[in-house]
Symmetry: C2
Subunit: 358 residues, 2 copies
C-alpha cells in the first residue's frame, strides 16, 4: 500500500484547532508534507510559537494519521509558527501585533506583567519588542537592568534617523526612561509626553516583530488616547489587583478600550497580587487585598480571565534586580507567566483569524 | 505668699518647645493665666491639635510651676490649639495649610495615607478638608463610602456659584470622582484635567480649614504642575513602598518638589506596605517588597522619615468599605496613622514658625 498526500491530508482534516474552530488543513497549517514509504513528515505551522495547544495538536495529528492512514506509520511532526496579524494591522511596517498592557489603576503590576510577558514570548521563539510608554514612572530600565543605557541611532538611506532599540533577553526594548535622567523628574505637560511616545513607535528601527508589548502608564490620559488613536492595536491585556479601589479604576481603564472611536479588543484580565503564601505555611493563602476581584471583573465584561498571579517576593526581586522571574525556569512562577503568554498569544490568534474570516 | 503672673510666666520660660526651639512664653503659647491663691489656671495654645508633644509639654509646665513657684500649687492646664500657616499662605482665604500627599509611583498608598491622615487630623479636632485630585483614578468616593454622591452648590452674594464639599467623618471632601460617572473612563487631555482640579480649590465653599489634604495622582504631570504653581502649599508628604522600582519613581516625585519654580517643603517620607505578618505567625515579618527602602530615601534627601505602615488586610478593607482604619480606635493601626498625622502636623508647625521668624 502506498500512502498518498491526499490520504494524510484527509486524515488531518479530522483535527480541529479548538480556538479557531476549523480543521488544520482548511486553516492551511500543514506544510512541507513529505512521504517516503511508511515515513510521513510534515510541519505544523501554528499561529504563535507560544501556543498553549502545541502538544495537544501535535498528538492529535499523530493519532489521526495512525488511525485513518496506517497504524504502523512513522510520523514526524515539526512545529513552527507564523504569527498572524489583525486585518487592519498593516499600517506599522514589520510589526504584526501590538499588545497594550493596561489598567486604570497604578501600581497593580502592569510593568511586571508586560516584562514577564515579553520574556515569555521571546523565550518561546517569538520576535518580541517592548515599549515602556510610562513617561513619569518608566520601569523597564530597572526591570531589565538597563538603568543609564542609551540607545544609539542609525541613519536610513532617505536620511531619516532611527533609534535602535536595546536588545536584552532576546527582546528589543525602548523606554522613555532611556531618554531622561533617572533621578530628574519630567514635569511634562500631556501633549509633549504623547509626542515622545509616538516617536518610540515611528522613529525606531524595530525590524520584524511578532509582538510588540506596550507597558502603559496608569490612568486613561493623553498617552492612552494618543497610542490607541495612532496605531493599530491587536488587543489590550488588563491588569488589576483584587481590591474594590483598584477594580473601580480598572473597570474604567477597561471601558476605555470599548469606547466608540477607540474600540480595541480586550484580550483578558489578569489578577495580580492575588494572595500571599508564607514559606512557613505553604498551605495558607492570605487574600490580603481581597479575593477573586479580577475574575469577577472579567466575568462582568465578558472577557477571558487570563489567570491569577500570587504575591511573591521573587517577583519583586526579579523586577528590582533587572531579571524578570519568567526567565528562570527553575522558579515555578515562570510557568505562571508562560501560561499567561500562551493565553494572550492564543487570544490574539483567535481574533486575527476571526477578522480574516469575516 | 502671693503668687503673681510674673512668677508663673518666668517659671514657664523654662519650658522649651523642642520643635520650635523657643520657650512657651516667648512663643506666646500661654494664654488666659488666672491665679486665685494656690490655684493656677492657664491655657496652653499649641500650634496643632494633633501635636504629638501635647502631654510632654503639659507635664513640663506643671513641673516648672511646682518647682519654681510653689510645690503645693494646684495647677490646671487647658490645652487648645491655633494652627499656624505658612508665611506666604495668605492667598487661599480661610485655608491655613495645604498638604499634598504624593509619590512618583502609582498604587503605593497615596489615597490610603491621605484618607487616614485626614481622618486622624479631624479626630484630633483640626478643621480638615480633603481634595481628591486624581482625575483618572479618584479613590475618595470609595474610601469614604460616597460612590455616587453629588455635591450641591450655593450662590454667593456676588452671584458666584460655589460647590459645597460633602462632609463625612468630620472632614470636608471633594473628589473629581463626584463629577464623573464612576464606570465611565475620562480620557481627558491634560489641560482639561488641570482646570477641573483648580475648580475644586477655587470654586468650592471650604470655609475655615486648618488643613486641606490633597490626594495627588501618580506621576509628575499636568495636575502636579498646576497645583504646585497655583496654590500656596505648606508641604508634601511623600509615600513610597520599599521596592527599587517604586523608589526610583518616588525619588523623582520627591525631586519635583525641590525644583526651582516649585520649591515646596517636603514634610517627610512614609514607607507603606513595609511588611506582612500572618495572624498565625505573629512574630514574623515578611518583607515582601523589600526592606527599609523608604527610610533610605528619606535619609538620602535629608527629610524626616515619618514611619512605616505594614501590609494589613484591614487597611485594604477599610478602603474598600469606605471606613478608613484610622477611625477605629480599637484597631492598633489607627495609632500608626494618628502618629503619622502628629508628625506631619508637627513638621508643618516647625516650618511655619521658622518662616515667621526669618
Ligand atoms: N505578584 C507580585 N508579587 C510581588 N511583587 C509584585 C507582584 N507584582 C508586582 N510586584 C511589584 O510591585 C511593584 C509594582 O508593580 P509594577 O511596577 O509592575 O506596577 P505598575 O502597574 O506598572 O505600576 P505603575 O502604575 O507605577 O506603572 C513592583 O515593585 C513590582 O515588582
Ligand atoms: N498598608 C496597606 N495594607 C494593605 N492594603 C493597603 C495598604 N496600603 C494601601 N493598601 C491598598 O492598596 C491599594 C492601593 O492603595 P492606594 O489606592 O491608596 O494607592 P495610591 O498610591 O493612591 O494609588 P493610585 O496611584 O492609583 O492613586 C488600595 O486598595 C489600598 O486599600
Ligand atoms: Mg508600570
Ligand atoms: Mg490614589
Amino acid at each position: 500500500m502506498i500512502i498518498t498526500s491526499e490520504q494524510v491530508l484527509s486524515a488531518l482534516k479530522n483535527v480541529e484547532d479548538p480556538d479557531l474552530k476549523k480543521d488544520l488543513v482548511t486553516l492551511n497549517m500543514i506544510k512541507d508534507l513529505k512521504i517516503e514509504g511508511k515515513n510521513i513528515k510534515f510541519t505544523l505551522e501554528l499561529t504563535t510559537p507560544a501556543c498553549p495547544l502545541k502538544d495537544m495538536l501535535k498528538n492529535a495529528c499523530l493519532n489521526a494519521v495512525k488511525h485513518f492512514v496506517a497504524a504502523d506509520a512513522e510520523v514526524e511532526i515539526q512545529i513552527t509558527s507564523k504569527v498572524t496579524k489583525p486585518a487592519d494591522g498593516g499600517q506599522m511596517k514589520g510589526i504584526r501585533n501590538i499588545i497594550l498592557v493596561s489598567s486604570g489603576k497604578g501600581g497593580v503590576g502592569k510593568s511586571t506583567v508586560a516584562s514577564n510577558l515579553a520574556v515569555s514570548l521571546a523565550a518561546n521563539g517569538a520576535k518580541t519588542g517592548l515599549i515602556d510608554a510610562d513617561i513619569y514612572g518608566p520601569s523597564v530600565p530597572t526591570m531589565f537592568d538597563l538603568v543609564g543605557a542609551k540607545p544609539s541611532a542609525r541613519e536610513t538611506e532617505e536620511g531619516k534617523t532611527l533609534i535602535l532599540p536595546i536588545e536584552k533577553y532576546g527582546i528589543k526594548l525602548l523606554s522613555l526612561g532611556f531618554f531622561a535622567d533617572p533621578d530628574q523628574p519630567v514635569p511634562w505637560r500631556g501633549p509633549m509626553a504623547s509626542n515622545a511616545v509616538k516617536q518610540l513607535f515611528n522613529d525606531a528601527d524595530w525590524g520584524e516583530l511578532d509582538y510588540l508589548i506596550v507597558d502603559l502608564p496608569p490612568g486613561t490620559g493623553d498617552i492612552h488616547i494618543t497610542i490607541t488613536q495612532s496605531f493599530p492595536i491587536a488587543g489590550a491585556v488588563i491588569v488589576t489587583t483584587p481590591q474594590q479601589v483598584a477594580l473601580a479604576d480598572t473597570r474604567k481603564g477597561l471601558a476605555m478600550f470599548r469606547m466608540a472611536g477607540i474600540n480595541i479588543p480586550v484580550l483578558g484580565v489578569v489578577e495580580n497580587m492575588a494572595y500571599f503564601t508564607p514559606a512557613e505555611l505553604p498551605e495558607n493563602k492570605y487574600y490580603i487585598f481581597g479575593k477573586d476581584g479580577g475574575k469577577a471583573l472579567a466575568a462582568s465584561f465578558e472577557v477571558p480571565f487570563l489567570g491569577e498571579i500570587p504575591i511573591v517576593q521573587s517577583i519583586t526581586e526579579g523586577g528590582d534586580q533587572g531579571s524578570p522571574v519568567a526567565l528562570d525556569k527553575n522558579n515555578p512562577l515562570s510557568d505562571v507567566f508562560w501560561d499567561l503568554a500562551g493565553k494572550v498569544a492564543q487570544q490574539i490568534a483567535i481574533n486575527n483569524a476571526e477578522a480574516v474570516n469575516c
